[in-house]
Symmetry: C7
Subunit: 75 residues, 7 copies
């Protein structure tokens, strides 16, 4: 992870992020922690299905290997 990537994630701990993983899973939740392999912990997570409906998941541990992207949500 570049310093910039690390800094962005660090600055967004506690903020809402969007995560896309392999198998087409999309998650939106509060970034609780991350490590250098992009293993992620989200809280208050919602899974966003391909049809746009959401499902509450709460606390989620995500394996970094399968992460495609992480994007802080700013509104």
């Amino acid at each position: 992870m570049s310093d910039t990537a690390h800094k962005i994630l660090e600055e967004n701990v506690g903020n809402i992020v969007l995560i896309k993983t392999r198998e087409g899973v999309a998650l939106r939740g509060k970034l609780k922690s991350f490590d250098q392999h992009l293993n992620i912990v989200l809280d208050d997570t919602e899974e966003i299905r391909s049809d746009g409906t959401v499902r509450k998941l709460g606390l989620v541990v995500i394996r970094g290997d399968n992460v495609i992207l992480i994007s802080p949500i700013t509104e």
Copy 2:
């Protein structure tokens, strides 16, 4: 695995978790054990099919490589 991820899993040994793996497999069961590669053992496991029906699997050993996410179920 970050310390936070480890702590969450540790705190949820004995609790019900949802696991999603590659190939679109979704499992719900009691977290019995895990290691740093996210190899997981679940007990009283149910496989949740894409059509929402479930199938009892009981004890299940899951290969960490193929895990996408783990989420404690709290109701």
Copy 3:
């Protein structure tokens, strides 16, 4: 593999297990051996197709890399 995972597999040598692999292959057979990479040998194996029909395969060597889960069948 956690000690728990190892113990479960060890206790189930000689018992019937269900294995799911990548490419959607599902196998049911008698666990003959395993190693720490989840390379598995099954005996009296049946492949369970997605339509529920089965096909006898007998002895099967399964590459651990492609294993998603292993579940002892207890009835």
Copy 4:
């Protein structure tokens, strides 16, 4: 990464690039940073869906493992 690849990315920090990843995700954004594993940070990012519609994502951290290609957009 060859020296040429490194030089191209370095010269395009601050410019708009197109990125394609596994799972068919296409992103267009301003290249903020990259490392030797092709982990990328984009800013002002848009996801380009297969039907051509776009969706604003803003800041995005992309895991290099899943990157297929990066292309500076010059118009």
Copy 5:
């Protein structure tokens, strides 16, 4: 590979085996050689297509990484 897996393959050199790989390829042929990565050489090989038709391939070298399972055919 466990000792059991190795022994099974060794005992079946010269016998007909079924091999399934990623991308849904199924092959049936005489096991000529294997190594610890499950790289395999088959002779008199037939590819079995999903519609059940077969196609003669003769000698085939198979990359172990992509192997899902190997099963001796005993009739």
Copy 6:
């Protein structure tokens, strides 16, 4: 990479090559550079879609991991 592969790529720097990657991406462009992991830089690149239409991409950095094949185009 074998010496032959290396020599072919070296001899074709500046020439047009076809590249196929995972996710079914096909690219045609001028080979600018490559390294031993098959990380590739193309210039004047066109993406060739499955329906045969093309789209100009210009300069492209391709991650070697996801490359399936490289073929110099000689007409």
Copy 7:
């Protein structure tokens, strides 16, 4: 690669081989070179599409990681 696999490939340099890779690509061409990772160079290569039609590719460098099988064609 086992000695047998290596010997077969070595004996077939200059002969026509069939190669199948991930993403369902099938190629037929003259084996020019290979290395221990199954990186392959083919000459006079044709891509065989799923509908049976062929397309001339000429010289092709194939990344070993994505190779499923190699089969000398003997007629």
